[in-house]
Symmetry: none
Subunit: 237 residues, 2 copies
DNA sequence: CGCTACCGTCACAGCACTGTCACGGAACGC
DNA sequence: GCGTTCCGTGACAGTGCTGTGACGGTAGCG
């Protein structure tokens, strides 16, 4: 299956002819395409295997596009998923509301194929469209989301569930500082309430777990700001 | 100046009436707006103080919008800068090419203000809910807000939290003199009360932190006025 | 049921950082 | 020149932030 590495686009649209047209053009452009006409089914499929980009129709039978969009934006896992809304020209007002709800872009029917593809490319380029399944690594550490395994310098590490998610999150955004609030939202979930200092404790447990004797600390503390996955270089050559 | 911390939008457009309209609406939305009709000038201004978002007209006198866009995309510092292109309806084909060149979105004239603002919000939200992501640099110093790192001449500097915010503020408005009150409002916050002289002390700490031996002082004292991030040349050329 | 692994919270200590002051020197006006 | 205003500098006490160990609670499992 060579197309497992292609960018994966999910079309949520119930007009069959339009789907056929889109599928044809997008596959010609080298995308892997799946589709569904049902909002609920879309939600489960996205949960199972999040696409790199979502083409979302405004009018849907079971669940409206905007509602689906809202639900996706509530989940940490799909918060950054690029979404393009498809609307009829007359519904442009709603489309504007759609953007504020969380869609990244919209396009009005009828549209030219080139315009759509250009927008898709722009969005994918921006979101760095790297397939999500790859192993994550930084410095001498490696995390495999599929097998749920973490390795540093050849030796396997044992992490608790939260430590694992924490490390995975940091590995996805290396060298970037996150406040305790950011970390809570991303790792614990948007509407869970825990004390910000809890992050400190788990950072400590993570450090203890991944830092063997004589190994450098990969987690950098930035006072009054948060934490980052980064080498704590005091000086540079 | 209460708007120094607002998201900063640069408009590159030579039709004065349109600029006036845009400026009015965007400022009402809480953005700080600057504009220029010249592509070359835009480039220098972006280099000096990168905006959070760029509104870019396709037709420009000296340098075409698409050329400006291409140049910006070539530089690492502005590669992620969100760009919205403004084009006339008839030029839609070009706009598509514009997207492939590196613009993030385009909108065809005439457009509704709400549609534009919605797109702006979507872009700013996507580029990190905190609208500050681009690296800032001046002379031989570089500050990365994302990784919270400051580098001068290849060596990493260690700054305290306040020193960091202070430097970041000055880097966003280089070569501009700010009174102690301005600095307090922007860096400490509008309703925090501290003695104006406190700024002096932190300026000193900042100087000590960033000025290595044999390096020029980047912070210029303007007697009876305040401070500026600028090379201290004894006399004007 | 008891055991284990893990989680969230807290208290406390150490230390980096902060705001303020006093002093002396520099810059300026006359 | 002198007086005044302004700024650089070092010191210092108070504050706030983080690392750390400990503790009670819970879910899963045999």
């Amino acid at each position: 299956m060579s197309d497992l590495n292609k960018p994966y686009i999910l079309i949520v649209e119930d007009e069959a002819p339009l789907v056929t047209l889109l599928r044809y053009n997008l596959e010609k452009q080298g995308f892997r395409v799946e589709d569904t006409g049902d909002g609920g089914e879309a939600l489960t499929r996205i949960t199972e295997a999040p696409p790199d980009l979502l083409l979302l129709d405004w009018m849907l039978p079971t669940m409206s596009g905007i509602e689906l969009c809202r639900q996706l934006r509530r989940r940490p896992a799909t918060r950054a998923l690029p979404i393009i809304m498809l609307t009829a020209r007359a519904e442009e007002q709603d489309a504007v509301r759609g953007l504020d709800t969380g869609a990244d872009d919209y396009i009005t029917k009828p549209f030219s194929t080139e315009a759509l593809i250009a927008r898709i490319r722009a969005l994918l380029r921006r979101s760095g469209s790297v397939p999500q399944k790859l192993k994550l690594n930084f410095h001498d550490i490696s995390l495999d989301p599929a097998s749920h395994r973490v390795i540093r310098n050849g030796r396997a590490l044992h992490l608790g569930p939260t430590e694992f998610r924490l490390l995975e999150f940091f590995l996805r955004h290396p060298k970037r500082v996150f406040s305790r609030e950011d970390v809570l939202n991303a790792v614990w979930g948007r509407d869970i309430h825990v004390e910000p200092r809890t992050v400190d404790v788990h950072i400590r447990r993570l450090r203890k777990a991944i830092n063997g004797p004589g190994e450098v600390d990969i987690v950098r503390t930035v006072r009054a700001a948060g934490y980052a996955l980064d080498l704590d270089l005091g000086e540079v050559a």
